[in-house]
């Protein structure tokens, strides 16, 4: 059975990118590709072939939902779980994000020590959804 190994992270704030890298690579032992925006993520995804995407919602240029929609058009991204990161975590806002086709939503600020476990849960959940299709 394959495991969660590669995570593509799309986030415009450099401080959050740094703490994500620490969390996923150093704490979680995952391979991480950091992108500062949606356009870069679209270029990196076919090369990096992520097992999961962690995607900021509010970004200049392509925002999170727009990036998600564009990623979903790539053949390599079919069935790959995409998890939003957002500071807006009211239930209706989370529900709206899930309706874009995200597997889950991580609330910012996140705990860098538990983020790897949390995204692994979403990865397993997303994979189960794909298996059911």
């Amino acid at each position: 059975m394959s495991d969660l190994r590669r995570v593509l992270c799309v986030e415009d704030d450099p401080d959050i990118r740094m703490i994500i890298e620490f969390s996923l690579a150093t704490v979680g032992g995952l391979e991480v590709c950091l992108c500062a925006g949606g356009q870069l993520a679209l270029k990196q995804a076919p090369v990096f072939l992520p097992d999961l995407v962690l995607l900021d919602v509010m970004m200049p240029g392509l925002n999170g939902p727009e990036t998600l929609a564009a990623l979903r058009l790539l053949p390599c991204m079919q069935g790959v779980p995409i998890v939003f990161m957002t500071a807006k975590a009211m239930p209706d806002e989370v529900e709206e994000l899930l309706q874009y086709g995200a597997t889950g939503v991580i609330v910012k600020p996140f705990d860098p020590m538990t983020l790897p476990q949390n995204i692994r849960i979403y990865w397993e959940h997303g994979r189960d959804i794909c298996a059911d299709l």
């Binding site: 401080d15 969390s23 500071a87 910012k108 600020p109």
Partner: protein, 107 residues
């Protein structure tokens, strides 16, 4: 955040990872004056909200919960208030500025 709280956050991590986290925290704190300047110089309501939003979303992940909370409070006030001159917002920004000042020599 005290060093005891930092140890709680990194409990169980190997020493090299704890050291890396400390370096990241120091970088974050060193970048706070630039973030504060961005907040102070924001010339539109949207720019102010955006700067506060990014600070609110990042501070807590570095263990600065109080800073993140103050930024979130100011962001919410900036969202609901059409004017950047509102006294509540100004007070919230002053509290945020003081917290940033306090953190400067602390790490």
């Amino acid at each position: 955040m005290t060093s005891a709280q930092t140890s709680d956050l990194t409990e169980g991590l190997p020493p090299a990872a704890v050291a890396q986290f400390q370096i990241l925290r120091q970088r974050f704190v060193a970048g706070l004056p630039a973030r504060w300047q961005e907040i102070e110089l924001a010339d539109t309501h949207l720019a102010l909200q955006s700067a506060l939003h990014r600070l609110a979303g990042s501070a807590g992940s570095y263990g600065f919960e109080s800073l993140g909370h103050l930024a979130r409070c100011a962001e919410l006030l900036a969202q609901t208030d059409a004017s950047t001159e509102s006294s509540e917002l100004i007070q919230a920004l002053q509290r945020l500025g003081k917290e940033i000042e306090t953190l400067q020599p602390a790490v």
